[in-house]
Subunit: 280 residues, 6 copies
């Protein structure tokens, strides 16, 4: 439930500042134009509502109207050469809205497209999720792009899920005590995840009531042992993390973890190539 | 002159929301810790002031103090294994500030590092610049990272430089008329750049008083001809653009253009790998 | 992790608008005074940091200094006649900060004090929690006051915990389907609570993997049956709700539910009586 | 002239944060529903425009529409069992807007209802007014609720009326001097009120040109004497204050004061009981 | 009680936008300088705190320090050639803060100086006041400048004083009814002013309990008659208005009105001439 | 591309604060009225869109509608007695919007009208421009008024044009070095202007590649010499400044400078006289 208008308004202001020197001098607000957004590579679509918001925001500022009409919904795979949206209305609005709208689309489609490559190899039983390694001020949008790419989200931030890590453990003295302190503190709709880096820590985590164990930076062999321990002990969600790439994700399903988290879904994605072709 | 505190404050709020469930339950604000930010790859440093602002902002919110001390200035190339900063103070502040501060550093160092690969091959006479293809809400920061990588900036936005493109030209009827309309409209400290895609357009642009010509999407041969025409005509700044990579940049200096613009300095950069190691 | 300065600044602006007509005409900023905040009834203290923020904010606006010094920490029970804080510094600042600071203290202590009456009868095994029935714009502060009164919080809002209610169930067709849809949608650190109003619904809820069941508006007898069913079925957190008062809370521990939620902790609380006595 | 949309937007954000985990997973935006707001006790209605604003704000955010239609105007007394409003439109919007809208209605109706009990006993000649003891960030709304309950408002804040109290008097040396300093300072459309706690202070106040005298914390006998003095001296508005309850208000009209101020109209009010019944 | 930092921050952002191209390229932040603000004409000083705030705000943004030290307080008349302030510190901060700080000083001193010419001829018994004809977003500052010029303020806005004008009267049917409706509506610390344009209206106004009568656009003769009527009737404040200049103000004291209001104090004032001389 | 709604909203809030005491008590929102804005002197129109925005903003806040319809476009000269706009709709909205709307119109028309007197004598070849001496928070509006008066703008702020002044030069040691430092730093669409106060400085400036030279505070004779030097040297834009009035501007065209800048276009302008006549 992102406030697309607010985001588009801030992004538009950043680009246009006190005015577009070129366009305001050459394109009267009443000239109309039309065009389309062209995918110049295979990609997964993401960002249609945000793109549309730019045209609304810019139009409102200029007292004119241009519409952005999605031709395929977010989450769709399209091939190079597909028009993913059409635009129509005041040419000035279209020309001014173009760059920030495309910047958003190219970035978000980039993440959805990159994420898709992970999801495609993960199979049914393995949930691919993102991390808190997101572009500051873009978290909700990037997490949405991850969903468009077919993956799931991890917690949104520090406030809606517990992750007990080494710093927390060392501050209170033991993993067990850390979990128990947090349990007493948080509300009863929050699950606790605890990080384990060794099999001993897996044992210790299993002895708590933490619902999720993060198996961090373990090689395949250690992962297998950890999974085996956990499955023999009690119901628990097992998450693997640490420099994941698509190849390794493919093996993790077989190893038997439930979740794999990869910051790279977002921060290793590059923008896809889109262009807006306009004619009067 | 970026307002780092304001940016850090917004980014911190995005991550922490109404509070850090884990850390506030386990790490009292008065426990102290220390650590350092480690480069896990070769990179160009960028973002030290912003990173420091996170520690100030988080500290102020918790009524505690932790300092981020840069060990090398922005713009420095460092090797894998170098500590680029030290942190010291309230462990809670350090643990909470870590993720958003690193997210910024990893992104900005990524751009500076990627940009450096372009600048290194461009040589003295060729100015490498960015474009308006920047992450919305990050423009000033990303343009700063480009400078840390040794390159220059193009105009910041639509308001501080003129770029006459095909849509503007077609709206008024001719390149010549577009340039003249804009000249009459803008203040006298603004230069005009006009886009040319063919040699005929180069001729037409040279016949105006535009100070800069953008040679867009030309191959090397056409570029050479355009340069030759322009040098024989009048003083003018020549800028080349269109899917630039480092290899091509290396040739452009020899061809004789003055400026090469590449959006990819920013949008094809990936985050570098940094980690914050903390101990009590 | 509430931003007390921001809250105090907004609340101060509401009261002072463009200026204090009376005080600015009569009390020069350099006259000093001192005083204390007196409890005029038995109460549980809450709001010391927020109160202090008012004196800081007002002082900064007038270019003068007055300090608010808590004499007992939040969460303490004090008797009528106790001074809970002292103030010292610019008399103008003290006089202007007094009303909004006391308004906050009287309201927050009121909630903490009222909450305490529930907690005192609940005993060890029963967790008393609040609901989303909070004063808009005051949620974090009121939930903090509930903790100062010795109780716990429920989820903060719609974003950090799942509560499946009748509207959700009827929209998808069945309780079972609703739980399963939500499980697929939310991240893996979120627990699901589902509302049950009949024993049949308790059965249905027990057949899902919802971690928490809300036993809503059941009388003691039905509650006993629901508890019995659940304890015989699987591990699950049982929460009772519906027009709770202290008397009934006392019985719930014995009935065996884990959690009791009561909006009245907050919305049936009244302000306590405090006064600020100042002398030059 | 409260900005209801702005208030509703802030209050909605507080509750929904980055999204409603439950509703967004279960209720598609295009399903429609209808329902009504039911008074579960006798009450005085207040807050219809604010409640309506929530449905508008939530609808706009979800790109859907739900209308809140008041069935009785603010200020109306209704009996238990009355529907005070109907809602119709996107079920998702209704379900998400419900809680914050009801929280506002229950609080504001609570104040109006409680205030009504004072006004009913005060009779024609006595003006019942509130004080500056209001919930921070809610002043305009609470003062509006007081009017809906049939009472009047005192000054809104420190900026639109003068109240000379003991701290002001002691800072300048005398009541007389304080009034005269303020008169010289304020604009000529402001009246001055001065606090008197003894009959001697009443005499001193009557000797100034203060238009209003606050008879603070006097018992009935002293009030009678003060009224008698004042009526024999000059035209002046007499206000009584100090821990007022409805019983005492009934006596004050007979004693002959013009105004009675009671913070408790607001801070001793409790939420009324309302529920929103929805069906598809 | 103006928030000078907030105002200076907004005004600085307007001027500097994303950065000072010239100064940031030429003046390192650590070079220091000093200088003074020179009055290039006789004037009344106003704006010292606001000017100082610019140096604080700019310094904070650049991580450097420069101080603005007033040499004479606001409200002082100084002769051409007087230094009204000294500045010292980071040369970059001084150079960047100069223009917006001077813009404010020149404007505010201009109003104070112009106002002084009215006050000087008004004499003791006549209160010269401003109106609501102020520069939008500058009201509090301009009203402060009027006070620095020795005059007083009228109400600040529509919310802190009542002015019944012809539109209000015609909407309700009569002046008498309008006054009575407003009296019932406003709190008891508000005075009512009513506009009278004829002697008949003066009579009607005198028959109400309005505390102030505005004698609008009357010539001297009619004013004399109005004053005579009023003084024979009851205590009331008489205000004259309508295209006042200094010459006419001199006559009004003798005619016997209490207050003269003139929008021109503000909107007919011009900036005074100040310059900031800096040396390293 | 000014955000008129945002400006009008802020200006309206400043005036109305928590409400219009008089109008809300006397004019129900559903009474309608109509009227017109009358020019009470010859003037150049400016501010129609901003004026209209006030009626929209006030209407939206009161849930009512009143329209402001421009009768002549901005930039038009009209004679005394002309109606420049009509208004129609909710009388309450009209009465409340009147003052802030007129304040803006009177100020902006004042600047346009004053500017016109300069432009009328400047002739074709001389560009009259403003400076950075603008009313803080009003820069874009005032610069727009200057354009409505027939003149041009100088740079908007410190960020969109370079002006090398004495402080910059003395900080780096020489004019030549200052220009070269800035050139290396700024993007390639920015022109550089350098200030020259003596003929020697003109020579030095001509030896750089600065595109514009500011001839500051030179008398006519020195200006002639400077122009002669420059025209004999290289293409360059020559700007004259320093206490310009209309008489001197008339001579400058003949002397041969290209641009004359005058802060007085804005800060020496006075409000024009307009009134809004309304009837029910």
């Amino acid at each position: 439930m992102i406030d697309y208008r607010a985001f588009a308004s801030a992004a538009f202001n950043e680009d246009v500042g006190p005015g577009d020197l070129t366009t305001e001098a050459t394109i009267p607000v009443e000239i109309v134009g039309a065009g389309g957004v062209l995918a110049k590579q295979d990609l997964v679509v993401c960002g249609q509502d945000l793109a549309a918001a730019f045209f609304e925001v810019v139009g409102r500022r200029y007292g004119a109207v241009a519409h952005y009409e999605p031709l395929v919904p977010d989450g769709t795979r399209v091939e190079e050469g597909t028009y993913i949206a059409s635009v129509k209305g005041s040419l000035r609005v279209i020309v001014v809205a173009e760059r920030p709208a495309l910047n958003c689309l190219m970035k978000l489609c980039g993440i959805a497209t990159h994420t898709r490559t992970f999801v495609d190899v993960a199979g049914e039983g393995l949930r691919v999720v993102d991390t808190r390694k997101t572009t500051p001020l873009w978290r909700d949008l990037e997490k949405y792009a991850v969903r468009c790419g077919g993956a799931h989200n991890h917690r949104r931030g520090l406030y809606d899920g517990v992750m007990v890590k080494d710093n927390h453990i060392s501050a209170v003295g033991s993993l067990t005590k850390a979990v128990s302190l947090v349990r007493a503190s948080v509300h009863h709709l929050v699950r606790i995840e605890v990080e384990a880096r060794t099999l001993a820590e897996v044992d210790e985590a299993l002895a708590t009531d933490a619902e999720v164990i993060l198996l961090d930076n373990m090689d395949d062999e250690m992962l297998r042992k950890a999974v085996s321990k956990a499955r023999g002990a009690r119901p628990v969600v097992l998450e693997a993390s640490g420099n994941m790439d698509a190849e390794r994700v493919a093996r993790l399903a077989e190893i038997g973890v439930d979740v794999v988290s990869a910051g790279g879904l977002i921060h290793q994605a590059r923008w896809v190539d889109l262009s807006l072709k306009v004619s009067r």
